[in-house]
Symmetry: C2
Subunit: 453 residues, 2 copies
């Protein structure tokens, strides 16, 4: 951790997605959609982000074929297997995988993250999400998805179980005493004997405590439930905020919630998304943005928008306004994204076509087109004006958009003293200035050996 006198530095995460975040990126000549199932493509992206000294790379995830395969490039790597493959070709950058708490088991999830943390020498992060679509539920034997509040109840217990499992081995449990034939001190490996509302898990985990103790805990929902969950558990938050004022409001709101969980403001880093459309001149950046907009398939944009708004918009005139929308309380999917999109359309009086264009780059995340200097100015403003501890960087096209950011924006941030010029830590927790959690072994009741097998 930095000394108290060291300057506050921002944190940068590269959010990687197929051919890029713009929904038409794969049609643009600067992208390589034929490579989205080639691990070497993602290796290049990870190594580029590491060259820029970014804190981490990150993959989103969903448990159903999103309704986009007709008009958008889908790589489809599962994040944990993909990040394990990237761990071996990188050395310092953090590796954040999205895993849902809705259709997984805490034992599997805790174990896979412990495994990734060992594999990567302490670089694993878990973006904790809930699954909120009917299509996901139907891949797991459910006809309807869980109600929003219940999903978060389950998520809280899921994380509690995972933490107990990661802590079921003390750091010094392995003795490796070849002479006496004692590998581990079983007094330092204990069952967790968890019995809760959603899970009953005996433990201990079958992996020793990993370099970071726990992976970095990340969260990405901005609803009331999501913000409260973040304040309780998350160490970094990805969020979509369109304006500085919105960003400041969210930042203050979430930071203010920390105290009730005995946490300080710095214990959680807030990273709004930014989709930077970079040009060597402002005109060039705007032209690139327009090129991407021109490549959009309206049918696709309308389907995406229907999903975000929980409202079937098909057949409506593209140059007309949004129809009347439900209330947020009636949305059981991504509540915060619903509200953001509805507010954006209302505030700026957008037609459907205009809204589709505005959402094309970042699906609700902020899009900013400009020169590297202008982009650095924006990041600095949000960072110094109480809206961000760093950014979730979402290049509109890949690999070029990430290369441009690393080669042209990062050096400006470094020159301004806002960003590291070399990694100072070896683990993801160190990059984000988060301490390694001390183990909290359950009180000894029974021996850990369990039944021999």
């Amino acid at each position: 951790m930095p000394a108290p006198s060291s300057p506050r530095r921002l944190h940068l995460n590269a959010f990687l997605m197929n051919a890029g975040h713009h929904d038409a990126a794969w049609r643009h000549p600067r992208t390589q959609p034929e490579r989205v199932t080639d691990v070497r493509y993602f290796q290049h992206l990870a190594q580029t982000a590491e060259r820029g000294k970014l804190d981490s790379i990150f993959f989103a995830d969903g448990l159903a074929l999103w309704g986009k395969v007709k008009h958008n490039a889908l790589g489809g790597f599962e994040p944990l297997t993909l990040l394990s493959a990237l761990a071996t070709v990188t050395e310092r950058i953090g590796l954040i995988a999205t895993v849902s708490t809705t259709f997984n088991e805490p034992f599997h999830t805790a174990r896979k993250f412990a495994s990734l943390d060992h594999l990567s020498g302490g670089r694993a992060g878990w973006n904790i999400v809930t699954s909120g679509t009917v299509d996901e539920a139907r891949n797991f034997g459910q006809d309807e998805h869980l109600e929003h509040g219940l999903r978060y109840d389950r998520a809280r217990e899921f994380v509690e179980v995972a933490v107990k499992l990661w802590d079921s081995w003390e750091d010094d449990a392995v003795l490796l005493d070849r002479v006496r034939g004692v590998y581990a001190d079983t007094g330092k490996v204990r069952p967790i004997d968890h019995r809760g509302e959603h899970f009953a898990v005996q433990g201990p985990l079958n992996v020793r405590r990993s370099p970071q103790g726990h992976p970095l805990l990340v969260q990405a929902g901005s609803s009331e439930d999501g913000k409260e969950f973040a304040a309780q558990y998350a160490e970094a938050v990805f969020t979509a905020q369109q304006t500085l004022a919105d960003g400041q409001g969210f930042y203050k709101d979430v930071k203010n919630r920390l105290a009730r969980y005995g946490r300080a403001g710095d214990d959680l880093k807030i990273l709004p998304g930014i989709c930077p459309v970079i040009g060597s001149t402002e005109a060039e950046a705007r032209a690139l943005e327009q090129e991407l907009t021109d490549l959009q398939v309206p049918e696709y944009g309308l389907a995406q928008l229907s999903g975000m708004l929980g409202t079937d918009l098909s057949g409506l005139p593209l140059d007309g306004p949004l129809p009347a929308l439900p209330e947020e309380r009636d949305i059981n999917g991504n509540k915060s994204r619903f509200t953001l999109v509805a507010e954006l359309a209302r505030r700026d009086g957008l037609t459907l076509r205009e809204l589709i264009a505005r959402l094309g780059g970042g699906r609700g995340h902020r899009v900013f087109a400009g020169t590297p200097e202008q982009i650095a100015d924006q990041l600095e403003e949000w960072f110094t004006q109480g809206a961000a501890d760093g950014f979730n960087v979402m290049p509109p096209h890949l690999p070029g958009g990430l290369e441009d950011f690393v080669d042209h924006v990062v050096p400006i941030l470094q020159d301004r003293g806002l960003f590291r010029t070399e990694y100072t830590g070896g683990t993801l927790r160190e990059h984000y200035g988060q301490p390694r959690p001390a183990g909290r072994l359950a009180p000894s009741v029974t021996a850990a050996e369990g039944q021999p097998a």
Copy 2:
């Protein structure tokens, strides 16, 4: 596939396990138990196996902390994350992960194997197992584990669902038509709409069809249920057989079962386990075997044996005989291992101490100590006498035991024309002479787009 006139060649799989298969290996000076949570250690093992042109490497798995952590080195990597990390440092060798059908979901499992298959360029294999211990059940909310027959019922349906998911994209579904903005032909991506006794899964998978179509399907249980399952689904079988006669009996039994599923003998390769204790002279090999036996901790051996036999043996005199045992039909864990061990003790009239020594190297798999020439003779005999299509090679100590096998046994097998001198195929299926399955897309009923998200 080889032309009909090409000679029959054996298949070799390296079964990798921590410091080696002998339960005392980690105490031996030739092993490196301090490295069992270091991915570079496993990278070296994988590269060594690839240097020997072996068909594949393989990791076993269990979903609870086996009762061995006090006296045996436990790495604890989760196999799919570990193999993904090994995929990027190898080029040709197959990568076989054990995943249980008892406490997993077919959607997750199908997806992770498709992901590994893409990552590795077609080198993924799935060792399909059921989980049969109470300690595993208790990590997944169950107080008791599923009855043996029911576990296999679930396993069959699990595999059927996984196959449907892998086939839910036709090979040519991705069009990548940048000009028209059409990424995939959604007429070639379909829901599977599976509704069975254990699973309801809508599909399609959110990963396009992988290089091999399906991962190689491997199975490792030798009970009646296990043999029938293998005959129906498996393309390779790992099995523990102590004598040539037992091996021949098993081989004939399983091959004879294939016809009722419309399969030919060559559609399934049988690989008995062999734990080769290698010395430059026979005396040196026997001395190494004795050294390992002398390092055994009897308490550990007794606990392992109690687990295999479903009978608490603690406190019994080590130099006395086995007590009366239950019948196989009353065993709900690994039935075939129970029978093998009980038969071994009876046939050779072993005391508990002798039985523990005999099981130390391979947990019931055959152990053979000798020179490279003698080991090659044994492999050739089983291969030519109708007991094996290849071998599951289980080095007693690692990395040395694998290095010795690759450097000294493999060249003899190559000289005899029994084993490849170069890889001829690029995928795991090609190594095992198994065809790439044609897609079997479900009839079109509904569009694959599902709900937009």
